[in-house]
């Protein structure tokens, strides 16, 4: 499989005084929307919010919709445990997000954009609003008909799921909707909406600044470019790092581990747990294990039962509760591993629970319930003894 060595990159937080975000906008709106879409598709950029949908296609779908209003929404709900990169981006280079949103709006034909910021980040709202005001003024001066608004989230993890996020923005309970229709057809207020992650939007403006070639040169065939990682857990150097995609997990462990790494949870609570024996042949990217950016490192002092227990508690609480497989499934998984641990159920009960996660993966209504199988099976399969004894 194609792979790249670990390499630190400086695109997201870099600053080009000769081409500031607003200048990128100015330059981009002189092109045709079609050519921007082609650049996006050509760059290979995929969504950085977790699901990895090709950004250029998403924009194209929204552009092709006929509607009296369209919206651009920046998903800054960042609720995945172990992820804190969007916060850093919002803090350090918000103008790049605004630029990405504006270019997107230009492409799809939206006049309003919203940034939905996680409730826990309310402390940064004031500064962010000031920066938005300046940017809106600059857009006004450039006679670009687009306005950015700020929305504060309600603090529920599920509100990061795009359709629940729209419900929440509409003042309703944050419950995911049925799909189809997808957001590009019916999103906020039932109108065609592009929703992108914070980081995705920054890359779009960067691709417009530097051209798709430079971006495409990074990463692998299925995972173009670089990505910002939130590194946490048993590491001496926790923090935010932008790395080229396509590196083997081993490189990552060598760089960030504490020398005693037992497992890495790639992609947060809803991601996959990779044990040491698989570090060599696991690639970080869409062809291997995709991630929204969270990398949690566990050393040999950690009990994987506790890790799984924590995750299941998280999902049990954070499920919106509307659909059966997720609301009750999560509770059963949590109670189930407790029962196995206590000897109230035989170890083989774990197989029953794994079958349950297989159902959750295909029958739950949204990504939350569908992804509980990831940590469950990867931890149970690789650390079965720790769960039982």
């Amino acid at each position: 499989m194609e792979q790249k060595p670990l390499k630190k990159i400086d695109i997201i937080f870099g600053w080009d005084d000769n081409c500031t975000p607003i200048q990128v906008v100015e330059k981009s709106v002189k092109k045709t929307p079609e050519s921007i879409i082609l650049d996006m598709i050509d760059s290979g950029l995929k969504g950085r919010g977790g699901a990895g949908f090709p950004t250029g296609l998403k924009w194209k779908f929204a552009r092709n919709e006929e509607a009296d209003a369209k919206y651009v929404v920046c998903n800054a709900d960042e609720g995945e445990p172990g992820t804190f990169k969007d916060r850093e981006i919002l803090d350090r280079v918000p103008e790049k997000i605004f630029a990405g949103m504006t270019i997107c709006a230009f492409v799809v034909g939206a006049l309003e954009g919203y940034i939905y910021v996680r409730g826990e980040y309310n402390f940064m709202l004031k500064t962010l609003q000031q920066k938005i005001d300046i940017f809106n003024q600059q857009l006004h001066d450039l006679k670009i008909d687009f306005h950015i608004y700020l929305r504060s989230g309600s603090g529920a993890y599920v509100c990061g799921e795009e359709s629940a996020l729209f419900e929440s923005m509409e003042g309703k309970r944050g419950e995911p909707r049925n799909k189809p229709p997808y957001p590009t057809v019916s999103g906020y207020n039932g109108k065609p909406t592009v929703i992108n992650n914070v980081e995705t939007l920054v890359y779009t403006s960067e691709i417009c600044r530097m051209g798709p070639e430079q971006f495409k040169a990074l990463g692998t065939h299925d995972s173009r470019g670089s990505k910002v990682f939130s590194v946490s857990g048993d590491t001496p150097i926790a923090g935010i790092y932008e790395l080229e995609l396509g590196m083997p997990l081993k490189d990552f462990v060598d760089e960030f581990g504490d020398g005693d790494t037992k497992a890495i949870q790639v992609g947060g609570a809803s991601g996959h747990c990779v044990p040491r024996k698989k570090f060599n042949d696991t690639i970080i990217g869409f062809e291997g294990i995709p991630t929204g950016g969270s990398m949690m490192i566990f050393n040999s002092s950690r009990s994987m039962y506790n890790v799984l227990h924590d995750y299941l508690e998280f999902f049990t609480e954070e499920s919106c509760g509307q659909c059966t497989p997720c609301r009750i499934g999560c509770q059963q998984l949590l109670k189930g591993i407790e029962a196995v641990k206590k000897g109230e159920r035989p170890p083989t009960y774990l197989n029953d629970l794994k079958r349950l996660t297989a159902t959750m993966k295909i029958a739950a209504k949204c990504g939350l319930g569908q992804s509980v199988a990831n940590p469950f099976t990867s931890i149970v399969d690789n650390f079965r003894e720790e769960i039982i004894y």
Partner: protein, 593 residues
Amino acid sequence: MVNLKINNTPIQVEEGTTILDAAKRLNFRIPTLCNHPDLSVAGNCRVCVVEVKGARLLAASCATPVSEGMEVNTNSEKVRIARKHVLELLLSEHNADCTKCFKNGHCELQELASEYRYGDHIFIDLVKSGDKVLDISSPSITKDASKCIRCQRCVRTCTELQAVSALAVVHKGDHQTISTFLGKPLNDVVCTNCGQCINRCPTGALYERNYIEDVWHAIYDPNKFVVVETAPATRVALGEDLGIETGQRVTGKMVSALRKMGFNKVLDTDFTADLTILEEGTELLTRLKKALVDKDETVKLPMMTSCSPGWVKFQEHIFPELLDNLSTCKSPQQMFGALAKTYYADKINIKAENMVVVSIMPCTAKKFECNRSEMRDSGFKDVDYVLTTRELAMMIKQAGIEFDKLEDESYDNILGESTGAAVIFGTTGGVMEAALRTAYEIITGSEVPFTNLNIKPVRGMEGVKEASIKIKNTKPEWSFLEGVELNVAVAHGLANAKQLMETVSSGKSNYHFIEVMGCPGGCIGGGGQPIPTSAEIRKRRADAIYAEDMGKTIRKSHENPEVVEVYKEYLTQPLGHKSHELLHTHYKVRKRY
């Protein structure tokens, strides 16, 4: 049109059709729980999932539209396993004490559980217990959270159809539940007791407060004289719970069954429906006279009907500023009770204190109504117990009566005779039509200008209906109405009522008279009627109502001979002194929260 295959059978359906509906057309039944034909699509129970070739996820068939070339399997191994898991999960959370459950035998969850017969319940018991689980605060509605599968059908009913929003989803994850505002008792919140949520709850989590044992007790008590009254809409729906086809009238069988059960007198709320028309019609004409001739500005128009107690309570909570627009007439049920324990008791020589009045209603709000403190004008509780159509069906079964074999019998009298006008009270537009038949004739001396007396513009299932009738050739005493265009409106279901009230409240309407029924379709779709309900079922019941009307020799309330007699012997005249005492009431402002 879209072409697809379901279980290898090709079918062509319109774009936008769900997989569920397409499968239905091929006679493949897919189990459902959260789906209901009257409500928006939720897609949350996941019991209806099917496999679509090439898709990573199973699709909720109730929520997924068909697409060209789709290949669906409704019974693949994956589907069966998922369905089994969903059902087992629901049951693991469910207080499944079916034998003690009011919905035993009428429960969608139970039906599925028995259909799938899973012996191996592998999951851990998650049933919650505790004092918050059971809410028996309301005289109409009982809520048992331990039976709730969170399908949200009640929530959608209460918001979409009724615009009341007494129930909402609160909290998330394992704490997610269906709750009233701040978890207050149902009786202390804005709930109108309409019971529409009950009609759509697939389980025993919502059901009527039942008075079956109390009524048997009264029947068996040798010192009690038990009188029963039956509402117009019960006779076109009762059969559904007793093995008779939807839309069949069972009036005579019902009377026979009630007699066999041991009620001392079997009388008819339809009688007081006719009486209501005289009182309410006269009230309307009096209001019109005061407003148009005397220019009395304290008189409120449009006048609104008051025979639907769910609607009345809705108005008390939501539009208190319009309470003076409500007719002061009690509902036919309560007029009946008040007359029964006064005039009628005297007439048949029974002491009112020994009389028990039981009413059979399509309605749960009437249980609340009979407990209102205003409803004791006879000096006693005018109506003692209200049973729903469903409760009556249960009692008939308990009594061992083979309903479908019964011969038709007639009501006792007096208070048993009724006209076609009274029968149509049971469906939306009926009160309006009955009132117009009588009022027009009072004013002009001739019949309403509609073929066969059928006032078609106020019929049908449209949410809000409007009509205008030009009054011509008035009698001298009504000459002020000559040439007046009488504007009326009819709404059914509280969401439609709310919409209508907003225009009235804003002063933008020019109606004189408005009929509102709290339930979709009117009483035939009442919260106490047999379950299930759907537009189709309501239509068939309504058709039966109109057929019953056509079958009556007398079809105008003022021609009901017993009504004429009661005025002669007792009440003297509509809106007379006795009427005010017994047949009219007042309303109170209630808080919204």
